[in-house]
Symmetry: D3
Subunit: 334 residues, 6 copies
């Protein structure tokens, strides 16, 4: 976010006033933020670009997350702009835009990841200032797409040596080497990102991990690389959620550029039924939001929200929660 | 449709190629047609504007049609461009655009109808040529919004004496004087339009009417005014659907400017469960499409599709059918 | 119906005016007809009692029809009173009442049938006149409950020798001797009724029967007894529905007291997904209503609508159709 | 509740014995309590009247709460009578009745509120004793209807100077001045009630408030008026729910007549998906019930449960919870 | 089918008696037929193998058909054994078995097709006699898997010169060359099969084709190759369904080995909401079953049922219909 | 579990490798464990048999649990084998098999219970060793089936004097004497088991009990017999869940053979909407799993999971949780 962003008299993001134009009206963009093409010159450079990656060719179980960007756009119409706990109005303080969906094609996973990364990098450069490109908030799609957004974010940050810090909310570690011979699927993005030097494993934290696992060996890579794992049980050692270890972790990151990846299956299926590989006994949505708020102060330079599956979300609560996760990430950035 | 529209080498409507950009990608506009703002100069003037009217303050039973424009935008992503029976590619021949949603406010029905009519008239004038404004295809919303689009269409046609012809697909006549003291609700739009001279009752045909009724008296006004009523039973006198009376009706209209209003409840609840005042024993979707195709040759100058209720449409088939009804109307206009 | 019932200036059934009291308001009774206790003295004796039998202990596959009376009461709030084809207002002409639900207990099927039959007989006698008891329209529940209502109806008619005529809409014959040793389940009601002399098999017509069957032998009993079977294929010999054989059958019944039993699975699962033993390739709802209307002139003395399963009816269209089937039966009786 | 209500040998509310008459049988009234018309003389005067207000013309987003009274009547069939924690049988101790639905008409919000208030006042007076009218438990409908029930309750209490105490469970403050020019919508009931002197803002507590907000200004009115706000975060300062601030608040109310208004959106969408303006990160149902139980000892003189939206409640858990909220309120009153 | 199959005293397929072992009990196999491993020696060689192909990597729009084999196994528990129109008991006459699911892996479409074809060929050889291998009925998955089953069937038939006849039920032609560079997706199987000589285009009939199309050019390949196309409109020229052109087509096939491929989207979305690329205005299920029955006499040597999408099938009617389509194909083979 | 079970180099249960054979492929058995018939000789004797009891004739409210074994088989395809907290791979350590469904017939509850018990006893004897029969994990059906599995387990344990210990997770006590004259329904299994000496009431613990109750008397039998009751409120006395009383209870059981019965309605309807007699304000799934894990060290000799109702489980989360409850029970046994 722009370090010198004063409380301006003019909002940085022009949002339709819901007391003039109802939230159920209009072509749906993420949180009703303007399309990238429609951002006024005075609101450029843009701080964050939100974009969809309607891609689910990486799943190992239930497909359909390709329809998540649309479902989240719709659900996000009810996301408001003022954050009660952080006491900030994200639209006053940040210039936000919906860049549409990245180019994808479902028949070639690796090719799509490359295409998405290139498109996102270029779009963010054009939307930001020469000194500071726009930050990227990708909306999956399955978790495989995190690699593409990480890659783009890393490039936009100048490919820092040692890689980015990563704060990873998930039931699963996603560091499997390959499934069915596929190295780029949704079980593997962070293994690839660590291998590529994009993510620094010693500055990576996986939050909310739960069993059962396919095999105990699935923990090995992360442990060897020094990834910090906070299981659901670790977070609840004192009975109720304890966010202090998470706070301690992010505090020591200081100004390291950090990326937040949020797999919706980190919350319990009661709160997020619409996901492809759910895991029972997860966080409540209240706990998840609390953990996100505990990231305040972190230098977040990119993020994603993934694994929403609209066809298993009969009341729409999963997409609705995902939309608010996006908002929480943005609010951290003010 | 523009009389001089030759088969050009360049399509009149630029559509993303689904074999490059998948139908599940992108911010959803009606049938993937461009937003009005994005139409290229060479594709102006525009032939038809599609716009949503997310308004359901007129209902007498189940509300929720305010969410229909969004649901239909999503469902319409799978509408293709080439009409197999009419053998026309609507995008080659017509310049089409999504004008977004009209301004509405749910607390004042009459005020909203006035606002919508004014906005639509002005928008269509700006989008069309000086000689020929764009035609208006409104997507409700409940049936009360037909009045607004009729009013705009009538104005754009120069308020022809005697009013427009009206081809009305519905289970209900919608000519009740008032319900609970409200004259502008969804039971009354055509009574108001006849009274205002916008619709010529002797050139009005109501197709698919069915019982039961609240009272036999509900037929009186239409009959007195000379409205032609083809009940579901009338259409099936020979056992199977007979479209010839409909064909005969539209043939005698000759070049009279005609408006098509399509209440999705004219089809059976099996085909359109997502509607607020369903009626069992209705048309199949195949029959409804056949009847629409029988309008070929009519001078259609405006249209609407109304009464889709997404919350009662668990498999999305109602919105999907509505999207194809829009396509059928456009294909009549080539 | 009362032979001397002139078109009175006062309706025989007091119904809340939907243009004063909306259809979505009030404690739900069948079609908004008054509770039996609330019928005014001037509207007594009562012509038809509608009552629920929330019993599904007879099913062989999917249970849950015990919740159908409630679902149908709710769905029936939108049933109007004037029949467009027969041109009658049932509330002007008939005194109708909702008698609530019959006493049932799910752990003993035969005991429940006996209890229901006794309760219904007594209630109908009390509600009607000494000369003419009220007629009974039972809302199941599974098809086993038809036996109880048939038994009551037969008793109210003075147990006519030879039994009642029966017009039976169903995908299944329901004349199996026993399943799992149970003779009173939903596969057997008409076998029992024929054996008991309640139904005259030579005046019984089964309409809409379809395969596949468990065994060819399942046809034997009905054929031996002389039951007339019109399969779905028989009804469509000419491609489209031909109601004339049905008309011929009922015509020759003359004034024989006849009972109508309507298993909702006679219509296709598209029109009635909410049922326990569906059968694909069935009637449309339009065809089913046409067949019911073809019964005009029959001396109907009792009826039931059964096998609605609300938990498999996500859009409510099955209960909604069932409510209109009730209305069609009543309209035949004016 | 009547101060002298001894544990009688005869229950004050006659309830069908579920071990005789199954809970799935019978015309559905709230919790199976008798209709007002059916209450025996010996059970009069009545302590609490439950009534529906099928009205949703006040919503700013998703309509449909007009169908909530019916959905809650059905869901409430499984509400039992003995409260395990308070160790009271509400039917032994209180005379309870379902008064049906208040008169509404969806086309005029303010007129409906006036009509409801007048009807409720009159009905409660007639149902109670001359000294003590029946208390009113209204079942919405959207939150706008709280104003009507507050107005009636206030009148029945003799319009006490300074107004009623108000314990308000909600995600939202509902003290917006107006939306789209409408001062009586569901965003405004407590602003109007404070302005009218019906509610004493210094004895008003809003529990469970959450962001995001449309604007920080939305907090201003409540704060200026001295309303006490306990946000979700306030309640969870110690990690787990702490009900003691709530207990402290109600303790200092002493015998002030207090009204409880419960917007179902105060619980998380996982527990109440069926609501029109949900907010993620809310109370669990266990927490909500705990908070309600903490009101024990308060002099509750009226209440409402609002904002249930059946069409977004595929498994019925929202209406089911709402029915139990009603029971908790009644159990506080013994 | 075995030419010498007399009506034996012992059924060829051992089926649990539903009047002993309820249809809702037991591990679900297709239509309750035995697992291949469990078929008794006296019931070998096997006539038809039913197997699943849980593969949907070929879709261009909505994925999820990988879950169809399981959904159809469950829905098929209610498929009975005696065909009412053909008057045959398939279990008396044919030895049928469920061979489980073919090996698939979602990350490589072509590799999966090859693996499936090889596995199916080998399994059918082992299950049949040396003279006559078992026939293959594949349950998709998306339509791309038809290629694999066609290839296996063709091989089992001795790779007849000129290829197999093909009777193709579908809304789409599925002869597109490639989408997104992928030649093996669900838009292309019959183009590939024609090119490979597996299908004889002059003995190929596509039934139920409907628009709209992406482009008129999509018809070109099929027309050039001599494929016979019967559009939905062609089939309904006389208003009602006319099966005689279909009958004429199959009659001239004489004993040519023929394959039946049934894409569930050939029926209208009302009858088959659960599919990935639906098309409105399709066949009713009754019409589809009639057309299948009209194939009687054809020498069917292989078949598939594809494109069922359980996540869009809230009442399960699509899988239920698909299960009966399987039964109809088998009954043709007696 | 076998006391001498070393960590073998060969797994005791052969499971398809999900990275070879996808979890969405294959005929569904519980957790993909082999069918009993398919277990290799070297993996015999079997440690635990999982079997379904598709029986719901015992319910007092909403039926349909007969379909739970199938739904849970499907949902359990995603259950993995390595328990993260206990650090055990259940398939390495235990020989597990799916024995299919027990013989049931819905028309006679007591007869079915007897048949199930006899079948289970015999099957477990045959599957285990002469010294140690297989343990039985029954998957209901409604809670009445617990009696049958308890009876079988008790017999397999040599009918120990004093009976089995019982750890009972439920919202309800299930110790009612009879409902509608039926002593074997789902409200009574533990009363019958105590009376028969199968369960030792002084070693019985009911966890998660909640109100409201039908009557305070429903607590009397359990209290008189010395059953320990931990209500939901008892478990949360300190605000957050306190498992230590549960731990203390099971610790003092020492090696007493203990049975675990898990009624899914012990969790809140948000986590388990698909159940027949839900109760709001229940455990989260995380809490329920924690409590199960606290049983570590108990000598568990039998178990059941009951009351899953698939038709009320639109997103499948209830069956999914039930499948993981099964896994937790097995993991306790290593």
């Amino acid at each position: 976010m722009p370090p010198a962003s004063p409380v301006s008299t003019r909002p940085r993001t022009l949002l339709p006033n819901p007391r003039v134009s109802p939230r159920f009206a209009g072509i749906a963009t993420f949180c009703r933020y303007p399309r990238l093409e429609d951002v006024l010159p005075e609101n450029r450079p843009i701080d964050w670009l939100l974009y969809g990656v309607p891609h689910d060719a990486g799943v190992t179980y239930r497909p359909g997350a390709r329809f998540a960007p649309r479902a989240i756009r719709e659900a996000s119409q009810y996301v408001k702009r003022y954050h009660l706990e952080h006491k900030v109005d994200v639209c006053d303080r940040l210039s936000l835009a919906d860049a549409g969906d990245a180019p994808v094609q479902p028949y070639d996973l690796k090719d799509t990841l490359d295409t998405v990364a290139a498109w996102a990098t270029k779009t963010a450069r054009a939307a930001g200032s020469s000194r500071e490109p726009a930050k990227l908030l990708a909306v999956g799609g399955d978790h495989s797409i995190a690699y593409a957004n990480l890659q783009a974010t890393w490039a936009l940050q100048g490919k820092p040596k040692g890689g980015l810090a990563l704060i990873h909310f998930d039931s699963h570690l996603d560091t499997v080497d390959a499934v069915w011979g596929q190295q780029w699927g949704h079980a593997s993005p962070f293994r690839r990102a660590i291998e590529a030097g994009i993510v620094n494993p010693r500055k990576m934290l996986s939050v909310g991990i739960k069993g059962p696992l396919n095999t105990a060996d699935d923990l090995a890579f992360a442990k060897q690389q020094g990834v910090k794992i906070m299981t659901y049980a670790d977070l609840h050692k004192k009975g109720t959620l304890d966010a202090s270890p998470l706070r301690a972790f992010v505090k020591q990151l200081k100004q390291t550029p950090a990326y937040v990846t949020f797999d919706i299956d980190v919350v319990d299926p009661a709160f997020a039924p619409g996901t492809g590989t759910p895991c029972p006994g997860g966080l409540t949505s209240g706990e998840a939001l609390d953990l996100l708020r505990a990231l305040k102060g972190t230098n977040i330079v990119g993020a994603d929200v993934v694994e929403v599956l609209p066809d298993r979300d009969p009341a729409g609560i999963t997409a609705f929660l995902a939309a608010h996760v996006m908002f929480e990430v943005l609010a951290l950035s003010v």
